[in-house]
């Protein structure tokens, strides 16, 4: 379980101190949790801290009993590799690698042998409906296809935690629906943390955390999340 305790992040902007996140405490259960809020509410900062991209000014992030915020940079990278998957708004695929190679990349970092990497990457790409696009470079894929490759890459090592930061923000309606359906389907068996300002998308998650001004305003638990029938 991923847990945040009194998570606080302050930045200095010249002489001024900016509080990006203040005293955020929450334990993320299995299933989908959406984090919503207007721009500047601290959503991105929260995800940066939870994933170990950045370190908090106060408080901490715990993965089980492991204090992520106390680990050195390379060890945090190791934790991300073993336990976390990421889907970003801008897909962030490596442009010189094919879809298959992009998905195989985390497996390469994990030291999987080549044959097993190829097999696993092809398997995950098939799960997201891209079995026919294995050897295409990202610039030969549509936005929706690129986001599905990014999702396949996030799932390659079957992580317990899946982060999605505005995963449908750059997609058309049809692709948005495809990606959302895949994401929530994959989120059922793991902890899915979905950062979005799209309330419609957020309501398909089991829980919604409302952030404003760097503080957690409230948590809403939906009995029957909308769109789960998809």
């Amino acid at each position: 379980m991923l847990r945040a305790e009194n998570l606080t992040k302050r930045y200095r902007q010249g002489e001024k101190e900016v509080v990006a996140l203040q005293g955020f405490t929450y334990a993320f259960p299995k299933g989908a949790t959406a984090v919503v809020g207007p721009s500047g509410s601290g959503k991105t900062t929260l995800l940066n801290l939870l994933a170990g991209f950045d370190l908090p000014t106060e408080g901490g992030v715990f993965l089980g009993e492991t204090p992520l915020h106390r680990l050195p940079e390379d060890e945090r990278a190791g934790v991300r590799l073993r336990h976390m998957g990421f889907v970003f708004q801008q897909w962030n695929l490596i442009p010189t690698l094919t879809a298959l190679e992009n998905v195989a990349f985390p497996l390469l970092l994990s030291g999987w042998p080549q044959g097993k990497r190829q097999k696993r990457a092809a398997e995950v790409l098939e799960q997201v409906g891209l079995a026919h696009r294995l050897h295409h470079l990202p610039n030969r894929l549509s936005g929706g296809e690129q986001q599905r490759v990014a999702l396949a890459r996030a799932l390659a090592l079957d992580p317990g935690i899946l982060f999605a930061d505005e995963p449908t923000g750059n997609l058309d309606a049809e692709s948005r629906e495809q990606v959302a359906a895949l994401l929530f389907a994959q989120g059922k068996a793991r902890t899915l943390i979905l950062v979005t300002h799209d309330l419609e998308l957020a309501q398909r998650a089991g829980r919604i955390l409302y952030l404003k001004g760097g503080r957690l305003l409230r948590e809403e638990v939906l009995e029957v999340p909308q769109g789960q029938h998809l």
Binding site: T44, N48, A51, F53, D54, E73, D74, A77, G78, R80, L81, R82, M84, F86, F88, N92, L93, I94, P95, T96, L97, E101, A104, F105, P106, L108, L109, S110, Q114, R153
Partner: protein, 380 residues
């Protein structure tokens, strides 16, 4: 393998920039290879020639090192006689006085190298394996025997006149067969004729031929002890001296080529630095996915090394072609291949190119691996 592919594809994604950088490394490496190949060529030619010289000891005036080609004739007839006497006691086979004269300019085709031989001494005693192609092998008192290359180059044949000074004119009495060695470029003349031209009774070098089983070093030291003011050098001592001189010239030539190498290194550094700058987000994604700093460092350094290796190999190829072209000319003109690409030179060139790549890649690799993930991903 994927890491290598990643590096290769990244270089190929920016073909013009990579190609220009590669060309820079090729020019730097090939110029270094060519500069240093002259040292290797000279070394090879010299050692080949020295190993062909018959007499095992060369006696030169003290202070002169090497073969004594350029030495002023300082060995007096008295010193020579003392050497002969000492030689008899040591049981040497022959003691041969000789004199050198160089005429001509910088152009090898108009330069002439004369070696004076005492009466009754044929060139084959000094350069074993030398044979006459036309005419005599042993020149008469007013005759000369000409090496194959010099005969061809200067169109000398039997009966051709050789005017050494207004008073000394010789006629070609023999032309030697080509041996591929130093003798091909020499004109052998009677010693008294050269002494008359130079206005001296002295000699520049005395060659001492040993009997089988005699130890050159021991005889040389004994000769030095017997005749003060002279230095007796064995062939291996001459080789050692030549090696020292060549090393110094190697360093000078390497210093000159260093300018091109530094420019090549800066090109690689610039290309890799630009590539890192353009791929900050990509590195951020890799780090976000779980890549450690070392992985990013290796990725960038590998890019610099790959550029340097490809440039080094191509530079070696271009340098070899240029070396062959130069040899075609020098073999034709002076009968010696003055440039040589030896395995040690090839390894050295590749080593220098890789070191260059490594140095050029260190800073970009360090920067790439230290960018904070949030900054690299633009998530601040």
């Amino acid at each position: 393998m994927e890491v290598f592919l990643l590096v290769l594809r990244n270089l190929m994604a920016r073909p013009v920039r990579s190609l220009l950088t590669l060309l820079g490394v090729v020019v730097a490496t090939s110029s270094m290879v060519l500069f240093l190949s002259f040292g290797e060529g000279l070394r090879k030619a010299l050692f080949q020639e020295l190993s062909r010289v018959g007499p095992a000891i060369q006696v030169v005036p003290e202070g002169v090192e090497g073969f004594g080609f350029g030495a002023f004739p300082e060995i007096t007839p008295e010193s020579f006689r003392a050497l002969e006497e000492a030689g008899k006691n040591l049981g040497v086979r022959a003691v041969i006085p000789t004199l050198f004269l160089t005429r001509g300019g910088f152009d090898p085709s108009t330069s002439f190298f004369f070696q004076g031989l005492p009466e009754g001494t044929a060139p084959d005693l000094l350069y074993p394996g030398t044979k006459s192609k036309e005419g005599r092998l042993l020149p008469s008192a007013r005759g000369a025997v000409v090496g194959a290359k010099v005969a061809k180059r200067s169109e000398l044949g039997l009966g051709s006149p050789l005017r050494l000074s207004p008073r000394v004119e010789l006629r070609v009495e023999g032309v030697l067969e080509e041996t591929g060695g130093l003798a091909d470029n020499l004109i052998f003349v009677p010693l008294p004729a050269l002494q008359e031209v130079l206005g001296t009774r002295n000699y520049s070098t005395v060659l001492v031929a040993l009997n089988p089983g005699q130890k050159a070093e021991e005889v040389a030291r004994a000769l030095e002890g017997a005749v003060p003011g002279l230095k007796a050098q064995t062939t291996s001592e001459v080789m050692r001296f030549a090696e020292r001189a060549l090393r110094i010239s190697d360093l000078v030539r390497f210093g000159i080529s260093l300018v091109a190498l530094v420019v090549g290194g800066l090109l690689v550094a610039n290309t890799v630095m630009m590539s890192v700058y353009e791929r900050i987000r990509e590195f951020g994604v890799m780090r976000a996915l779980g890549a450690k700093r070392g992985f990013i460092f290796r990725l960038v350094i590998l890019e610099a090394l790959l550029l340097a290796l490809m440039g080094g190999l191509l530079g070696l190829g271009v340098g070899s072609l240029a070396s062959s072209a130069i040899n075609l000319y020098t073999v034709d003109q002076v009968g010696l291949a003055l440039s040589a690409i030896t395995p040690r030179l090839a390894l050295f060139a590749l080593g220098v190119a890789l070191t260059l790549g490594l140095l050029a890649g260190l800073l970009p690799a360090h920067n790439a691996s230290r960018i904070p993930v949030v900054e690299a991903l633009g998530r601040v």
